[in-house]
């Protein structure tokens, strides 16, 4: 199962585009990438979930861990997501109140 992770930079913000399925098998790679970005000093991160086909609580946990890491450096991690099926797991778990979720990368970067 493929998980594509592509990092670009926009106005000094690291934009991590995630494509594929995020579950117990692939989530460790997402975690490693987020840790790597924070280690490189990227404390403002936008995770673009528009290419994600599936995400369960393991993926949610990794994103929560990423948010905790950047906040410990006074940074922030926000999300881009418009897909109902992905947003639903954030809504059920109440995490829509924890993450700032945007419709576009531009809006997330401009925050």
């Amino acid at each position: 199962m493929e998980l594509d992770l592509d990092v670009t930079e926009q106005n000094g913000v690291a934009v991590l585009a995630v494509k594929g399925e995020v579950d117990v098998y692939t989530a460790p790679r997402l975690r490693e990438k987020l840790v790597e970005l924070v280690t490189q000093g990227k404390h403002r991160i936008v995770v673009n979930l528009e290419g994600v086909e599936f995400l369960d609580s393991t993926g949610l946990g990794v994103l929560v861990g990423g948010l905790k890491r950047v906040r410990s450096h006074n940074g922030d991690l926000s999300l881009v997501c418009t897909q109902h099926r992905i947003l639903k797991v954030f809504e059920i778990t109440g995490l829509t109140k924890v993450f700032s979720i945007h419709d576009t990368v531009d809006a997330a970067v401009a925050e």
């Binding site: 579950d23 098998y25 797991v89 778990t93």
Partner: protein, 177 residues
């Protein structure tokens, strides 16, 4: 007996996607479920299989995880069975409220609340020998519509299928007339 499909997957993370695929394929092809409900079921199956695999890992077990799908008249039932060391489903730790900064210290423990919200019914039985999560989605079987067929299904009753008969005439080029 109700039609049932049983899948045994190795207790390894890379097989969770296979369990999702099998259950969602069955749900979307055989049952009257909307795409949204099939997506809900996929997440629930993924959560239950992830917990099962982690239970096997904690118990150092090489056994397979069993995923059993049973087509009942009014619902699709999915059972996920592991051979881990079990847990008390009534005493799951509660997370702090999402507005509490402490919430960020909890990366796990969302699986069972998600399952309970996404499926129509769920029960969990657990002992020292393992855990079985039984969940179901209310849905009728897909009605088979034979109006598009260019033959009458009743005609099939008149055809005499003799499997012991010699090769059909003309099929092998050696039949005599």
């Amino acid at each position: 007996m109700d039609p049932s499909i049983e899948l045994e997957i190795p207790a390894r993370p890379e097989y969770v996607a296979l369990a999702r695929l099998v259950v969602s394929s069955l749900a979307s092809s055989r049952r009257d479920l909307t795409d949204d409900r099939v997506d809900d079921l996929k997440v629930a199956v993924s959560e239950a299989c992830t917990n099962a695999i982690e239970a096997h890992h904690s118990a150092d077990s090489d056994d397979s995880v069993v995923v059993r799908c049973t087509e009942l008249e009014d619902r699709l039932q999915i059972e996920i069975e592991d051979r881990g060391s079990g847990f008390d489903p009534e005493s799951l730790p509660e997370h702090p409220p999402v507005t509490d900064p402490e919430r960020l210290n909890f990366e796990r423990g969302l699986g069972i609340p998600l399952i309970k919200t996404l499926v129509d019914d769920v029960s969990i039985s657990s002992s020292g020998d393992g855990t079985k999560v039984t969940m179901s989605m209310s849905c009728a079987a897909v009605e088979f519509d034979d109006s598009d067929l260019d033959f009458d299904l009743d005609d099939l009753d008149d055809i005499d299928f003799d499997l012991d008969a010699p090769e059909a005439e003309g099929a092998g080029g050696s039949a005599s007339s």
